[in-house]
Symmetry: C2
Subunit: 721 residues, 2 copies
């Protein structure tokens, strides 16, 4: 590892899937997993497409993996050279984070295979790979390069009716089973040498076979240009894919690489945190920023980021509250155009949220817990598989995690407060806010005796405790949703007719009156000695240690939550819950309150979610627990490089990159260590540097202006950039 490289030496098939995640190249449109070119299924090779979903039978809906157009298998004198099939003499692979380039270098006997591969940040449909074969002795080199159908699918297959085309540019296209979306992949090879060529078309895909007799010491270079388009992007995706390849081939690999690198440099200019501190954390913070930027939807106007980015099909490729609460801040403070895309995704998918609420008999907007295209709910009623019986288990994530709508409203408000830009409200955000508030009005209960508003049968951020009442986080975020709805009057004070028209349009007059009275009546948190009770009855649960609960596990993969889980009947929680509330709304709590709750909840938290450590780190900075803050920062930033995230929930594989932690790492550094706050578009700092860091320098954009933030142990400065 260097300051900008992650990589590893040696090969073990057991690590192949995890390495495919670590060494991912992505550009928002697609994610090319970091498997070597010859990878077969157990490497989990995939080109995962953003926003293209399919359902096979009654299996889970998930994103579609395109045919893999950078598949290359080589042989020398008839002996195949493929990792997994044959032990290499040496192998090295990794990722250049600065430039988003995957590299490998493998020796099979007399042949050394090197490559550099990218998914272009300059053209989101383009991938390129330059492979070099250096042959120590004379022999016959056979290279089979093409578009493979042998791709990783969790709940597939998703593509049917394949059509293959050969010629200068190979083509393979097929349609998704559910919606008939045409997915076309193309590949064009440019070789540096005369060679014999032929084509193979079959169940494995379409391939060009290149054969050449090499001299001792000869170096053979092959440049591959590949493209993926779908019928969602272009009326004729096959033609579009062919053109992308042809145009890139015309420019050549170096020009494609340069354009790609320049695009990455622009990204780093906008957001790179330059940390003068330990090398490992420098690297992991960069890796976090790389992975989060790599999956940002730069090509789309209203798209969000799945919980595992573009690293595969896990978590159904769905968008969770992670987007608003964990991923959004970095973009919001550094690349607001991407923040807008994430939020416009929610505006665009309001119809899905209205429909989900109606399905449950509610009014307003109940956003999907696992949102797919159009806001379709990807979360099923049976979202965990029991390890003991292999049966799906009824979970209530879909029904009860109602805080998602309030989280979205919170993010819209954050956007407005940091940027000072009300355009998202003008473009439908106002409607989202009112419909979310309306959902909660229709979900609210009062006791027959008493006037307080309660939210019963919910799940808070801590998913291990299902179907609880008056979760402190949920109740307060709903309160904030109501406040934000009422705030629209002030935001549009200069054009009062606008809000009036909207209310009329939504038939909202009665709801507005109800909102005005309800906003003060939401049940506040119960407390014991300054500690907020996470939900009604939480303090009455068994109060045992995390170790005690862990010792009760009978299978390392078993699910901890729900009535059958080891954590369910105890005070052990999956992730920050009360503390998330305090991290999101720090001004509503005193240092003493935060400290008391931190001290109570942190030891009771499994941190079984990548959404946990960063919230504890942010609040630890606030109360000066800098040792803990640093430890949690290390954990958060290191998750995709060092590892340590959960790979299994029950029997369900949940591996992949962790955009929420990636965003969390930025938040801890910028909002925690530097203490960055923006109020009415004006930034301020309250630095809390851990001992391990000498300085932090990073750019931000807020209130439409760019600044350079510098923090040292002597304090901080905010300079116009």
């Amino acid at each position: 590892m260097t300051g900008w490289e992650i990589g590893k030496t040696g090969f073990d098939i057991k690590d192949a899937a995890a390495d495919g995640t670590k060494f991912l190249c992505a550009n928002g449109f697609m994610g090319l997993r970091g498997a070597p070119e010859e990878a077969f299924e157990s490497f989990c090779p995939a080109v995962t497409l953003a926003g293209v979903y399919d359902r096979n039978g009654d299996k889970w809906r998930e994103p579609v993996n395109a045919p893999h157009p950078l598949t290359v298998r080589a042989a020398f004198d008839g002996a195949p050279m493929a990792l997994g099939d044959r032990a290499p003499e040496s192998h090295e692979a990794g990722l250049d984070l600065r430039h988003g380039v995957y590299f490998r270098d493998t020796a099979f006997g007399p042949v050394r295979i090197s490559s550099r591969r990218l998914t272009s940040m300059a053209d989101c449909h383009l991938m390129a790979d330059r492979m070099t074969f250096t042959c120590q002795r004379a022999g016959r080199l056979t290279i089979t390069a093409g578009i493979s159908r042998r791709i990783w699918d969790i709940n597939g297959p998703h593509l049917f009716g394949f059509t293959a085309g050969t010629g200068e540019t190979l083509l393979l296209s097929a349609r998704t089973g559910e919606k008939g979306i045409l997915v076309a992949a193309a590949q064009r090879a440019v070789i540096s040498f005369p060679a014999e060529e032929r084509f193979i078309t079959g169940d494995d895909g379409v391939f060009r076979v290149i054969e050449k007799d090499v001299r001792p010491g000869e170096k053979v270079t092959l440049s591959l240009f590949a493209a993926v388009w779908t019928s969602l992007d272009a009326p004729d995706p096959e033609e579009a894919a062919r053109r992308t390849c042809d145009s890139a081939a015309g420019q050549g690999f170096d020009i494609c690489l340069k354009a790609h690198e320049d695009a990455w440099e622009d990204i780093w200019d906008a957001c790179l945190i330059d940390m003068d501190g330990p090398e490992e954390e420098q690297l992991t913070l960069r890796a976090s920023q790389y992975h989060l930027n790599a999956c940002a939807p730069r090509h789309a106007r209203d798209m969000s980021i799945p919980a595992r980015g573009l690293s595969g099909q896990t978590y159904k490729g769905a968008v969770f509250w992670d987007s608003e609460i964990f991923l959004l801040p970095m973009f919001l403070y550094t690349q607001p155009e991407i923040a807008r895309s994430l939020l416009r995704y929610r505006i665009a998918t309001l119809p899905g949220a209205l429909q989900k609420a109606a399905e449950y008999g509610y009014r307003g907007a109940f956003y999907a817990w696992e949102s797919q295209e159009g806001g379709a709910e990807g979360c099923t009623d049976f979202n965990v598989v029991d390890v003991f019986t292999h049966r799906p288990v009824r979970t209530y994530f879909r029904d009860c995690q109602i805080h998602i709508s309030a989280d979205i409203v919170h993010a819209l408000r954050e956007y407005y407060e940091v940027t000072g830009d009300r355009s998202l409200f003008e473009q439908g955000g106002d409607r989202v806010v009112l419909e979310c508030a309306r959902f909660y009005l229709s979900r609210a209960f009062r006791r027959l005796q008493g006037d307080e508003i309660e939210f019963t049968d919910v799940i808070g951020p801590d998913e291990y405790h299902e179907r609880v009442s008056n979760n402190a986080y949920t109740n307060r975020m709903i309160g904030r949703c109501f406040e934000t709805a009422l705030m629209l009057e002030e935001i549009f004070a200069d054009t009062p007719g606008r809000l009036q028209a909207l209310k009329r349009d939504l038939d909202y007059e009665e709801d507005w009156a109800l909102l005005e009275s309800a906003v003060k009546k939401i049940r506040g948190p119960r407390k014991r000695g300054g500690v907020i009770e996470q939900f009604d009855g939480y303090f009455a649960l068994e109060d045992c240690s995390l170790d005690t609960v862990r010792r009760r596990l009978m299978d390392p993969r078993e699910y901890w939550g729900g009535d059958h889980g080891v954590a369910g009947p105890t005070q052990i929680i999956k992730q920050a819950d009360v503390i998330t509330l305090m991290a999101l709304l720090p001004e509503e709590f005193t240092d003493e309150e935060i400290d008391a709750n931190w001290a109570y909840y942190e030891p009771r938290t499994e941190h079984g979610s990548s959404l946990s450590a960063c919230m504890y780190a942010l609040t630890a900075c606030r109360t000066g627990r800098m040792e803990a803050a640093w430890r949690l920062f290390q954990k958060t930033a290191g998750i995709d490089v060092v590892g340590g995230g959960k790979e299994w929930a029950g029997e369900i594989y949940i591996g992949g990159t962790h955009p929420a932690s990636n965003g969390g790492a930025w938040m801890i550094a910028a909002l925690g260590f530097a203490g960055l706050k923006v109020k009415n578009g004006v930034p301020s700092l309250d630095p809390r540097l851990p001992d391990e860091i000498r300085s932090l320098t990073f750019p931000i954009t807020c209130g439409g202006k760019k600044y350079t933030i510098t923090v040292t142990s002597d304090g901080g400065s905010i300079d116009p950039a």
Copy 2:
């Protein structure tokens, strides 16, 4: 089997526990399981005491089994003669239902052992056993008769600090671990012959060893008189037990037997249903009436009947809603003094119900789901053990089966309406009704928008579906509870000051006003084509067949309910739910409604509870489905003789007698087949005899008068007795 005898020939240790239940002798104070005198632990021998509970460590609280004072082991020429240890040449055992006498007849080589044994209906502390040993050849007979400590305990041991006494009367006493209740057992032997005697006192108990050389053909008779008293019954239970034995021994076995038989004759005079029909059903109906009468608390003023009677410690010896809904009617219509005791138990345990409500943050009376002494809740938060992991599972029976309070109010009202006697209301029943209504007022929710009252997070009679909202049965029974509370005004119209004083005493003025407005606002049932939806969302559950669900079982003992159970996510229900409502309040539904709901729900019902078949039978009579009614009657009446009840719920043994089915058999015959109804103390009939029955004759008592009911295919008659 004869018309009044159940029994069996041959011996198989595998059946010993089940036979111990079938051949139970009980008298309301104690239940002597039908194991032979020499029984060791695997026969589950026990003298289960009513109303005496103990908890060992953190195991479940359960009734205490007394030391067994009718334990006899015999040997001939040194060879032991004990079932289970040695295969007998012949064996027969059984129960004379008419007289409540257990009998056995066993041949071990040259010796034949016969006995007749009883728990006295004339003196509830007394047991007696007359054993005869007939010896074909000369030899030495050794009889070891005493009080055994080797008794069946599920969650024991419960007795500590044993004290033994020998002499003419053997004594063994000990104290319960939790509350220090002294339990004393005594035994006195009367022998018909001179013999050598010595005593053995040890860890097994205290025994008298009788040795005698017998002549060929000699018949040796031993009469044993035993007694159990506890410090709950007498200040000096040891002395009391000794006296009971001495007095009985003075009278002799025949006089004790006669007094016992006379007491049973009185019971039969009050309640026997004489059914001219198939012999098997004649017998099973008698067995049902026997078992229900055997556990009736004739000795106590305010005691109820546990869900498994006095047949052991299963179901924690707790009192369920079974008492009010299933057991009460037979007593109410035939022996109202016992009905009063059952209901006074609820009046006496009101403090426990107030305390339980307060624990959950509610007002009023929330009766225990599994009520033990003083109304203590025996139901734990973890009431099922998972067969796959052997872990206790969080269940919500304790928290959510709120219908129990309404069931009790319903029973109080039934008592009043059938007897015309308001004395129970005067003795505290009025307070129970008001506190139950108050509980529901405090548990009621309204949506923020809307005025209807909803009961969310409940469990109805069908326990497989936990934490549902607006269970039709629960909502309607709560409505009836409210109506009954308001009805008190009319019941005490002649003494208006009484209710006013009570309201003042209970600070009830505001609640009363709320009741008056709430009674009309409870959410009524949702319907689809005349079929009532069991709870909100029930119709949206998977609609598959009972067989489909059964095929999903992976272990025959696994629990069907809850989120992990095979039935939970489907429309398959454990037991009658909507149909129970229709059976209890038949006047609120038309024949068409009942028929439509019967047709929908019956095929979706597992009948996995003994509380199910009888409700379906009652409603089947109403709509003329007589074939089904007869089949369900057979199942209900046969449960303790023919068998077929569930023995396991998860890993928990739930075998024992089924008082609820026993009561159900009476209900089907009297209320279903004869169509008996009592309104304002006046009986009427609406006979619906199945083809299998020629006539039914039975006594009832209502409105303070006795009647003889006769029903034939020509109609029915009601004659003053």
